[in-house]
């Protein structure tokens, strides 16, 4: 995860010539979609885990044109569009029920999701509606089995500080995620239904004026981090998706959808600016992003979505007391947390910056609080040791549980092992996840040597005549690596040679 963020931050401009975005009047708008990590879906009690790999069944459906204020012409067009399309919906155990299948009315709105969404709205200084009305937004691409997506406004007219400026947050809505497309074979389209209904917060910014592509990316990053500070958002590929609107020189607006890697955003904006500059005339359209940051045409820019009330669910009155309680328990802003990480844990600015982006942030704080192990050792284990092991030795760190780490750092805190022993233990545990860290230490014989034991080993080695200091340290280290810190060995050898 941190790698993904960093990759983008390090991206260099693609061309030598520096584009003057201010002069070009670059205007962007961001729409950030973040999945929430609630136990249950937004309108039913299915799990949001998306762990299942094999569908238990596939259901075939069609969608039909829907009545429209636009009259017969629009219906005829929909009919043409839908006629040759068949939707295959994959069903997964525990993750799909009759609600996703459009065979049962929605359950009441997930309270946990509403609370997280309202927290985000409050952190972004939004006005909160007195009464929340669930809407149906018509969608006929098959990604919603019912032909519409349920969505509701939870915040309006907010703002966020960025550098010394203020970013307008136009609206925040809480909605159900759509089914994920698996394949499209000439209109025979397969969707995974387990993503349908996962709570999603959509955050829309006002027009971003006079910002560089890197800054636009950084703004998206800031919003993403703000969401993450609730501790209730999903992590990993596909759990956060950003759309960006781009225009230059007051020209036509192009919408780019589905940037899944934040680190790619600056590049997407930059490439789109170049693309628009190379065209004699820009056409309003929707484009989808490719892996390398280039984009491809998807469809003309849609008109405003048709929305009408979800009559199966009553409007929800947002009580003042309820809001007050949420407000009291707002999570710490990530910018504040960054300062606190440096201050409380004495982490370097660089390490703190990496830690705050890390998936292990929560675990880090928990472990340091509980075990009193040195924060810098715990942080560098999570930031660099794991990465090194994954890269150099193909260690699968995902096999380790929170309990493994807690046990490991209890041993560090008690002085049972030195930090040099940590990589060996992690590697061992990734291969034998049923073992405990304490057992691994015994098995690998990694317990820290006592001063007496170390002295005995050094004594033995120094008996050999004619050894230089460097040579002696080398031999001793080869015998005690991982059981004594190198500085201690050097200090002791020097001391004993002097004798």
């Amino acid at each position: 995860m941190p790698a993904r963020f960093l990759k983008g931050l390090r991206l260099k401009l693609l061309s030598e010539e520096v584009i003057n975005y201010k002069k070009l009047k670059l205007l962007c708008g961001l729409e950030i979609h973040q999945q929430l990590n609630t136990n249950k879906k937004l309108f039913c009690d299915c799990s949001t885990a998306m762990q299942e790999r094999e569908p238990t069944a596939v259901i075939k459906r069609k969608l039909h044109p829907v009545a429209s204020e636009l009259g017969a012409v629009d219906v005829a067009a929909q009919y043409e569009f839908l006629r040759d399309r068949t939707f295959n919906y994959q069903i997964f155990k525990n993750e799909v029920c009759l609600v996703e299948l459009d065979e049962e009315p929605p359950h009441p709105l997930n309270q946990e999701a509403l609370e997280v969404a309202l927290q985000i709205a409050m952190m972004l200084n939004c006005e909160i509606p007195n009464e929340i009305h669930i809407m149906r937004k018509t969608v006929i691409d098959g990604s919603n089995t019912g032909g519409f997506q349920r969505t509701t406004i939870v915040g309006l007219n907010g703002r966020m500080k960025y550098k010394d400026r203020e970013i307008a947050i136009t609206s925040i809505s809480l909605e159900e995620d759509a089914a994920a497309i698996v394949k499209d074979e000439n209109g025979n389209i397969t969707y995974r239904l387990n993503r349908l209904g996962i709570p999603l917060v959509e955050i829309g910014t006002g027009l971003l004026e006079n910002f560089s592509p890197e800054e636009v990316q950084d703004i998206a990053f800031n919003i993403g981090m703000l969401c993450r500070s609730t501790g209730k958002v999903k992590r990993g590929i596909g759990t956060i998706r950003q759309d960006v609107n781009i225009s230059v020189r007051g020209g036509k607006r192009v919408e780019i959808k589905g940037v899944q890697e934040l680190g790619l955003l600056a590049r997407v904006v930059e490439l789109e600016v170049k693309r628009q500059l190379s065209l004699p005339k820009v056409v309003e359209e929707t484009r989808t992003v490719n892996e390398d940051g280039t984009t491809k045409y998807t469809r003309p820019l849609p008109g405003s979505a048709r929305m009408y009330p979800e009559t199966d669910i009553q409007p929800i009155v947002v009580q003042k007391e309820f809001l007050g309680k949420l407000k009291k328990n707002l999570p710490e802003l990530w910018t504040k947390k960054l300062v606190r990480l440096q201050k409380n844990y004495k982490l370097s600015e660089d390490l703190a910056n990496q830690m705050i982006r890390s998936d292990y942030l929560e675990l880090f704080e928990k472990i340091v609080g509980k075990t009193r192990a040195p924060a810098s050792i715990v942080a560098s284990t999570f930031i660099s040791t794991l990465k090194d092991l994954e890269k150099r030795e193909r260690v699968d760190a995902s096999k380790l549980t929170d309990a493994h780490y807690a046990d490991l750092f209890v041993n560090v805190a008690k002085g049972k092992i030195v930090k040099e022993a940590i990589p060996k233990i992690i590697k061992f545990l990734s291969e034998k996840p049923h073992a405990t860290a304490t057992a691994a230490i015994k098995y690998l014989d990694l317990e820290t040597l006592s001063a007496v034991e170390l002295k005995k080993i050094i004594d033995d080695i120094l008996k050999t005549p004619g050894l230089t200091y460097e040579k002696s340290v080398g031999i001793v280290m080869s015998k005690v690596r991982g059981r004594v810190e190198a500085e201690v060995v050097m200090r002791e050898v020097k001391r004993m040679l002097k004798k």
Partner: protein, 441 residues
């Protein structure tokens, strides 16, 4: 709040600006949805979302512009009731009775409004033009749960009128909850039926792209135009997919799920036909049916509405029988347990009450709450006790069908012997002498 709106001459649908504690919202003023906070304004913002703004001190509302009209009552079509696509196609009738099946949505309020012009139906279900010319008429607009025997009579009359003026078949659109009661009633009331009658509903409202109405009506149209089945049938989704509908005999069908598309199942019978949507194939799945023939249908709608359907359960109070007798009821259908039991012990025993009813010439008909299977008068001692007292064991008849049939039979005779005879005579496919193994799945 109302007074303020009246004073400012602001109506639902007007464009308004509401200010509150420094914040301002512009949009269309929406009607209140039931059960929301009655002291809130509902505004449709320009981004399409609705939200509620509490009306309290300091809230100001200003009219910005004259409103769009919010559709609030049925839009009457003044055009003809008939639509002809191709002269060579047969003409069928579609009669609306209410429910959401052929309705229009007001996309601003979410309200659903009946709209039953042939034009609207043809737009909604484009494949109709390949199947039949249509005559469409809304004969009533009543929700399923509010249907009464009077409604059934009216529907039977309207169906007969269409058939006798030469339509190839008739579709009755209906709310789903009591669709099977109406189907059973039509089965008894329409005598000498020469052509198919399909009773059709939809489990998903028609505002959504996934509505089952399209497939159900298209299959029903195909069924009434092209099949040789001269019976009243329900025609509804046969599976959760959009592949085929089942035509199920009107006296043997029951709604078996609150919300699924394939809620309607044949009970103790096989479906008469599988009607494929896309390739329009009609596959007969049960050879035992009445065939299309020449002749006129006769409406026989004499009906006694004072019939009660009672469910037995552990410790049920038999005094319920007294209540109905006191109120002049003329017949009982009991949904007994298992093979057709009522409680028989001590103060919970139904036996004395049943005996009293039958002595007063009020028939008692026994069905089973198992829904599937046949009742039996002699397997157990207690069954024999009931039978001895003159309870009519209604074979494999559905409780709902028995309820409708008893009303119809009582409309014709009050003679207890004659009633028993008619109840045990198969009049409209409501009794099967033998049950196929596949009829229970």
């Amino acid at each position: 709040m109302e007074a303020l709106l009246n004073a400012k001459k602001i109506k639902v649908g007007d464009r308004v600006k509401i200010t509150k504690a420094g914040a301002a919202y512009e949009g269309l003023l929406m009607p209140r949805i039931e059960l929301g906070d009655t002291s809130s304004f509902v505004v449709k913002l320009d981004n399409g979302y609705n939200m509620g703004i509490k009306f309290e001190r300091g809230v100001k509302i200003k009219k910005l512009g004259g409103g769009q009209k919010i559709m609030q009552e049925q839009e009457k079509e003044k055009t003809s009731k008939e639509i002809i696509f191709t002269k060579s196609l047969p003409t069928i009738a579609i009669l609306g009775t209410g429910g959401t099946i052929a309705s229009k949505v007001d996309y601003r309020t979410g309200g659903v409004y009946a709209s039953f012009s042939p034009k609207d139906i043809a737009i909604k279900i484009p494949e109709l033009k390949e199947i039949a010319n249509i005559r469409a008429e809304e004969i009533m607009n009543i929700m399923s749960e509010d249907m009464t025997p009077e409604c059934w009579k009216k529907i039977a009359g309207a169906v007969a009128k269409e058939i006798n003026s030469g339509e190839r078949g008739v579709i009755v659109t209906h709310g789903t909850d009591t669709l099977h009661y109406t189907a059973a009633a039509l089965s008894f009331m329409l005598r000498n039926l020469p052509c198919p009658v399909a009773v059709v509903g939809s489990q998903r409202s028609s505002d959504r792209g996934s509505s089952d109405a399209v497939v159900n009506v298209a299959c029903a149209a195909n069924f009434v135009a092209n099949s040789d089945v001269a019976e009243v049938c329900s025609v509804m989704h046969g599976s959760t997919e959009d592949d085929y509908c089942l035509a199920i005999r009107g006296t043997k069908v029951r709604k078996m799920h609150t919300s699924r598309r394939d809620a309607f199942k044949p009970i103790n019978d096989l479906p008469i036909a599988k009607v494929w949507w896309k390739n329009k194939k009609i596959e007969i799945t049960n050879q035992n049916y009445r065939k299309r023939a020449a002749g006129k249908v006769k409406v026989d709608d004499k009906f006694e509405p004072k019939v009660a359907l009672i469910k037995c359960y552990p410790a049920a109070d038999p005094a319920i029988i007294d209540f109905y007798l006191k109120n002049g009821y003329k017949g009982f259908v009991i949904e007994g347990t298992g093979l057709g039991h009522t409680p028989t012990l001590g103060k919970f025993s139904f036996l004395p009450k049943i005996e009293q009813a039958i002595k007063n010439n009020v028939p008692v008909v026994m069905t089973s709450q198992c829904i599937y299977g046949r009742v039996h008068p002699t397997v157990y001692h207690n069954l024999r006790e009931l039978s001895k007292r003159g309870v009519i064991f209604a074979e494999d008849m559905l409780p709902e069908t028995a309820y409708v049939k008893l009303g119809w039979v009582l409309g014709h005779t009050k003679d207890i012997k004659k009633i028993k005879e008619l109840m045990l005579t198969n009049i409209a496919g409501e009794i099967s002498e033998r049950t196929e193994v596949e009829a229970f799945e």
